[in-house]
């Protein structure tokens, strides 16, 4: 730009530039024309939509939100039956999506890290097994894997009477997965509150004491103090809850079915297993790439300044690897969240599946579809916002280091 400006100034007869060759005029014209085309297309689409809505008697309003939904949802985190409103139904779908995303992200990260480390193992066989796992999952469509898990495996499990079982702990059958699960007793909430307060205090102490150490240069025993706070809160909580904070809810076979315990539906379990195993393969590659990106010289330098093995790992290798790992890792998390929409194919009641039933029930394709899209967009935008903040933070620390 600057070069063309100076070029223009050097011309003796500036006014002689014809309008169609004047860059400023052309730019302005291009702006106006593109804006007209863009807005014109929007208007055209809008008019068509209104026309179609009038013809087919579709309504475009959101007033249906408070009407009773009139359809059941197989699993819900919040209380729901078919007398609740469409709004509640949508919320149930959103919470189901968030539930499976969060659990899936945690499990996929753990499994992916294990596979990624196994890939780097000096043991040839272990490394090859990890490679086989990664290649197997990366080259097969997720939907096909989900079909195998759901239709060919979870639907073929034995009936309740012949459950596969780890007695007292885990029962697997056609109706799903039944787990023994710890639940809070009546006094247990005191224990939970005490533990939570302890954790928060421990984190505050950790951050404060670490900062103090950085400023003063003296040892502040931040790890010891934090652990002591947590231990104290545990003991206090146990005392408050009369030493009975938890009881184990064990599934029991009664009549034809299991009662008690934590039940995971076959749909949820199949989707979770499929998503976790698929995403773990991608996370494994991210983890491997991140660790390999740390220069070997860093390890040698850390040893040379006298850091111990654990210190080398914790203070030198992991922080640098994390810098490479976190951005692609978060985009894998986002992929997993978006892939939960495949729930539709196997009947788990996620956001998209519930939304689709709502469209059939309420007959409001456009507004409901808009709600679905905007919800996914908000999830994505929040995630990329977090990613951007993280990236900026890393860049700053890089400069100050």
């Amino acid at each position: 730009m600057s070069s063309s400006n100076s070029h223009r100034k050097s011309l003796t007869r500036e006014s002689a530039i014809p309008l169609w060759r004047d860059e400023r005029a052309l730019t302005a014209a291009a702006q106006v024309i593109s804006a007209i085309i863009f807005i014109g297309a929007l208007i055209w689409v809008g008019v068509n939509l209104l026309e179609a809505a009038k013809q087919r008697g579709l309504s475009l309003g959101f007033d249906f939100i408070n009407d009773p939904a009139g359809f059941p949802i197989s699993e819900a985190v919040i209380p729901y039956d078919d007398s609740y409103t469409f709004g509640t139904a949508f919320l149930v779908g959103l919470l189901n999506t968030l539930k499976i995303s969060i659990i899936g992200i945690v499990l996929a990260t753990v499994l992916g890290t294990i596979v990624g480390l196994a890939r780097l193992s000096t043991n040839w066989l272990v490394s090859r097994i990890a490679l086989a796992y990664i290649e197997l999952h990366r080259n097969i469509p997720l939907l096909v894997l989900l079909f195998i898990w759901y239709f060919a495996i979870f639907n073929k499990l034995p009936p309740t009477q012949e459950s596969l079982e780890v007695p007292g702990l885990l029962y697997i059958n056609q109706r799903g997965l039944y787990l023994s699960w710890p639940r809070l007793t009546e006094t247990g909430s005191l224990f939970a509150v005490s533990l939570l307060v302890g954790l928060i205090l421990a984190i505050i102490a950790w951050i404060y004491l670490r900062r103090l150490r950085k400023r003063s240069g003296h040892s502040t025993y931040y790890a010891g103090v934090s652990i002591a706070i947590i231990l104290m809160s545990v003991v206090l909580g146990l005392a408050l809850s009369e030493w009975q904070p938890l009881w184990i809810d064990t599934p029991v076979f009664e009549g034809f079915n299991f009662t008690g315990g934590l039940r995971l539906t076959p749909e949820f379990t199949a989707l979770l297993v499929g998503l976790v195993m698929y995403t773990a393969a991608f996370i494994a590659e991210v983890v491997r790439g991140g660790i390999q990106a740390v220069d070997l010289g860093q390890t040698e330098a850390a040893k040379a300044v006298g850091l111990k093995q654990m210190q080398t790992l914790g203070l030198v290798i992991i922080p640098q690897a994390m810098r490479v790992i976190i951005p692609p890792l978060i985009s894998q998390f986002l992929n997993l969240t978006k892939n939960t929409s495949l729930a539709l194919a196997i009947g788990y009641a996620d956001l998209f599946n519930v939304g689709r039933i709502m469209i059939n029930q309420a007959g409001r394709a456009v507004p409901i579809f808009g709600m679905i899209m905007v919800t996914y967009l908000i999830i994505s935008l929040i995630t990329s916002l977090i990613l951007n903040i993280y990236n900026r933070k890393i860049q700053i620390s890089e400069k100050s280091a």
Partner: protein
């Protein structure tokens, strides 16, 4: 090591006799420490049990009839069998052009041509049931192999230039849809409705069509995103981020069901085309991001140099920036093609008869097949695995050939 030692007698005298290579390798890679030895034994044990179970299932327990009875369904779906020559002719055209590209450009195209020839030869040789078992089909698949070499011979001739080959590809992409569907009202070629198309044919149409159609759109979006004009830039950013922020399922659903509401009521779009529009829009947003990466990789000096020799903005972009940027993104585009190829399975949700959906309907076509989900889906998974693995193998070779990733 032992060989080089034996040629130099002096060092051989100093060294103790070295143990066999295999043992050295085993000790170094599998038994170099106690924990590693335990791991190795555990791994061998699990490989043995898993492998035995899988092999026993595949060779003794599994009932492969839904796969072997009529493999033609997986290839073309319900495409009328008396018109099947049209699919065959399209394949011959593609084979010939692949051969020509090999002759013209060599390098990576050789890998692609070899993979295609090998795959078709395998299809021609293996025995198959149903309509696939007929001699004509076997001969047809085998004929493709010499056709590829014929294309190679033609492509190697001096007078055949790259623009011939490119023109040939363009011609084929324009002709094949008409060849498959029929021209006009069906007087010349009987019309075959797209609802009858299916299997790998539709999977490939969605993937290849999606990536090709999305490419120009993606390049425009990428240029628009870097534009200095705010209106264009904002529109492009909104489009790219909006599409990338939602799952493909929702986009397919939108293009198949909601899109009709936004268009004039008398405009009826074919179901397969609607799905293809969805795939294209989705793919365009990702292509745009890939191309943007390529654009950023073009050094600023190139643009300044282009300006200095008097090229205008348009010429600079078309003649200097894009050729360099696009060359850098070829591997990324191949990677995107592979994931788009896998994503075509999602079209099952809008009732397109792609490979997975064909598998599903075969299961329901016969009472005896109803419980054979594992066999059918494992077969489909294997088909995808082989194709995707070969493509990523080719794309790795492409990366080496282009020297990308070497810094």
């Amino acid at each position: 090591m032992t060989d080089s030692g034996s040629t130099q007698p002096e060092s051989a005298n100093i060294r103790p006799p070295s143990p066999p290579k295999l043992l050295v390798w085993l000790r170094r890679n599998l038994f170099n420490s106690w924990p590693n030895s335990v791991l190795t034994l555990l791994a061998v044990g699990s490989i043995y049990f898993v492998g035995r179970a899988v092999l026993e299932w595949a060779f003794f327990t599994a009932d492969w009839r839904p796969v072997t009875n009529n493999p033609m369904l997986y290839l073309v779906g319900q495409y009328p069998r008396d018109q099947i020559w049209r699919v065959g002719a399209s394949l011959l055209l593609v084979s010939f052009l692949t051969g020509m590209s090999w002759g013209e450009w060599r390098g990576i195209m050789r890998t692609f041509a070899m993979l295609l020839a090998g795959g078709l030869a395998v299809l021609g040789i293996i025995p198959a049931g149903g309509q696939m078992g007929s001699l004509a089909v076997h001969v047809f698949f085998l004929i493709n192999v010499p056709v590829i070499f014929l294309g190679f011979l033609l492509g190697s001739r001096k007078f055949v230039t790259g623009s011939w080959v490119l023109g040939g590809w363009l011609f084929s992409f324009l002709v094949i849809p008409f060849l498959l569907r029929g021209i006009g009202d069906g007087t010349v070629l009987p019309t075959v409705e797209t609802s009858l198309w299916g299997g790998l044919l539709v999977t490939l149409i969605l993937a290849v069509g999606g990536i090709l159609l999305s490419f120009p759109l993606g390049v425009l979006l990428a240029l628009g995103r870097r534009s200095s004009l705010p209106v264009i830039k904002i529109f492009c950013v909104m489009f790219i981020e909006g599409i990338r922020g939602v799952p493909l399922v929702t986009i397919l659903f939108m293009s198949s069901i909601i899109l009709a509401l936004f268009l004039p009521p008398d405009l009826r779009i074919d179901r397969l085309v609607r799905a293809l529009i969805g795939m294209t829009i989705f793919s365009a947003a990702y292509t745009a991001e890939n191309v943007r990466g390529g654009l950023q990789a073009v050094p600023a000096g190139q643009i300044e140099a282009a300006k200095a020799v008097g090229l205008n903005n348009f010429q600079t972009t078309l003649l200097v920036v894009l050729p360099q940027a696009l060359r850098a993104v070829i591997p990324a585009i191949v990677g995107q093609f592979i994931s788009l190829f896998k994503d075509t399975t999602l079209a099952i949700i809008v009732a397109i008869n792609e490979l997975l959906n064909i598998g599903k309907s075969i299961l329901q076509s016969d009472v005896e097949f109803l419980q054979l989900q594992l066999e059918v889906y494992v077969f489909i998974a294997a088909v995808f695995w082989v194709l995707c693995y070969l493509m990523s193998f080719a794309s790795r070779r492409l990366e080496t050939a282009l020297g990308i990733g070497e810094r």
